[in-house]
Symmetry: C2
Subunit: 346 residues, 2 copies
């Protein structure tokens, strides 16, 4: 049993509040910094931006950056501003993603594009990206500009990789991890790297910080994948098997296909079912039947357990990356955060 | 008669090639720098990005930056990279604008959104913005990051101002200039400011450089407005009175409304015609009749001459802004460029 599994087993259910406690005050400053970027003189973007920043997200990226800062040194104004930058980029991405994906719902709320149209959603996203750049330029630290420029580039590359590998039953783990690192983990990695840069750690330490964020981010993505199968529409705010219906072969699907590789007949059946789910011509009633059969095969392949094991591997690697940090309340909260994320599945 | 008018009168028709001549070699390097950003491993964005960067634009922004650099000092690798940044931001804006405006044609060519869809157009724009940020971060000059971050912010604010003042017959010159500075002139201004920053001019000199770019940019926009009335679809690649049909009250419209302010009856007639053009319910045949009547009233108001006079005012101010620069082949080309732009109307 890995350290991560042990810790999870021995620990009581971790509350988000407890993890956030060490950075509660600085988080208020981040929120204040975010509030100040609301555009002046116009109601057109104000309403959409305020709305999108009030989403019931957990400010996970700012919290990660602040905790990583506390764990590796101090939390000052530059850390707070950089945390705001991370959230701005995250929200901007969601605003553009909702247009790209033609999504009407996100976490149970209507999207900005559904409420005010694609035009406002694209423009609000661009505005937030511009504000993120402005904040970065004011920090007078080119290394940070570079870190977040790479994030933007990675986000696009991840989106492209996802489009490229969609509806493709021969998609590989290599493609999956490249997509997950680019689309999800890159921003978590940038948060932790920035904390190390701002606190002037040594280069190997900065890279270890980054690695913690990246591994944590991949674990976060895999749990997200799992929720696509285990959560109801109500909990997640989108339909079950939504990813697969949109042609995305996420970690549980890859694990199931891998599991049945030795039994070609079952593999073929699973592939046929997935093809049916992909097809626009399948009506809703049939789709539900197909979904049920897919979920049954997943259950037979013990996909949930296998996915959890995969998550544990990345959490374990994340753990190891920050063993060099002194043991304090912030490092503990970082470790708790990784455990908390794996609890999301419950 | 202003200096600008005199110069225009005394000069033979200026050829674009002559203006570009002093920076021909460095412009090749800019193009090479742009070619290198084409995304690897995927054809999805490659085709759209190569296509959008091959648009028959005149690389006006890089040329302006290079000429301003030559006029104020040297042209080195940082100038070339910054020139590439300006073009990347320009093309990215067009890619997002075409989605915002639901445009199928730009300068007579199909838009990326028309050819490959909104998804590819948004994503390609985001990719180019990310590459612009990466290039900027590599220059290790936070002032430049700040200059172009403000450009991005201004571009959004300009777009918002345009949406806000659309279909509004009481739109003001104040709103028009704010929109024009933010949407068009800001990038020209940033190019000239960057040249001054890279060549380590004094702060007042940098601001004068910026002012040249801004005034030039406003003149450029007003000429663009004028082409909306004087050019045929074939020349411009979009229908005559296209701006007005889309609710945009540009400089010639404002001048016409101003002209008829003293004759309330004609003013009312013009306003009614414009309202008819705005209306979705007006059929194509009627629209053509309405357009013809509007153009007649514009002619009566001498809108072309008045618009040219307005352009001359800004060109003159641009001229004066760079009088402090030594007289050399680059400064002459900058001055020629302002004259060339006013020739576009012919």
């Amino acid at each position: 049993m890995t350290q991560a599994q042990l810790e999870r087993k021995n620990q009581a259910f971790i509350q988000m509040d407890a993890i956030y406690a060490p950075v509660q005050d600085t988080l208020v400053s981040v929120k204040e910094s975010l509030r100040q970027i609301v555009p002046p003189e116009t109601e057109l973007l104000t309403q959409s931006i305020v709305y999108s920043m009030q989403a019931p997200g957990k400010l996970m990226r700012p919290v990660l950056l602040l905790l990583a800062s506390g764990a590796s040194g101090t939390i000052g104004q530059p850390h707070i501003e950089t945390a705001a930058v991370a959230e701005l980029i995250h929200v901007a991405t969601l605003l553009h993603d909702d247009v790209l994906d033609e999504a009407n719902l996100r976490r149970g709320r209507s999207t900005v594009s559904a409420l005010w149209g694609n035009r406002v959603s694209i423009l609000s996203g661009d505005y937030l990206l511009a504000q993120a750049s402005l904040k970065l330029s004011q920090l007078d630290n080119c290394r940070l500009v570079s870190i977040f420029a790479k994030v933007l580039s990675n986000l696009c590359e991840g989106e492209v990789e996802q489009i490229r590998s969609s509806y493709n039953l021969t998609a590989t783990w290599d493609s999956y991890f490249r997509k997950s690192v680019c689309k999800t983990a890159t921003l978590f990695a940038a948060c932790c790297e920035s904390a190390g840069v701002l606190n002037r750690l040594s280069e190997p330490e900065i890279q270890s910080m980054r690695m913690f964020g990246e591994k944590f981010g991949i674990a976060f993505q895999i749990i997200d994948d799992l929720l696509d199968y285990t959560s109801s529409t109500e909990q997640l705010g989108k339909p079950v098997l939504d990813d697969l219906k949109n042609g995305i072969l996420n970690a549980p699907v890859l694990l199931a296909l891998e599991h049945f590789a030795q039994t070609p007949e079952t593999l073929q059946r699973l592939e046929q079912l997935i093809e049916q789910l992909f097809s626009d011509e399948t009506d809703t009633a049939t789709q539900e039947g197909v979904s049920a059969q897919i979920l049954q095969l997943f259950s037979q392949a013990q996909v949930v357990e296998k996915t959890q094991a995969l998550v544990d591997r990345f959490i374990q690697e994340a753990y190891e990356s920050i063993q060099f940090l002194p043991d304090n309340v912030y490092r503990q909260a970082l470790l708790d955060l990784t455990v908390y994320v794996t609890q999301r599945e419950r």
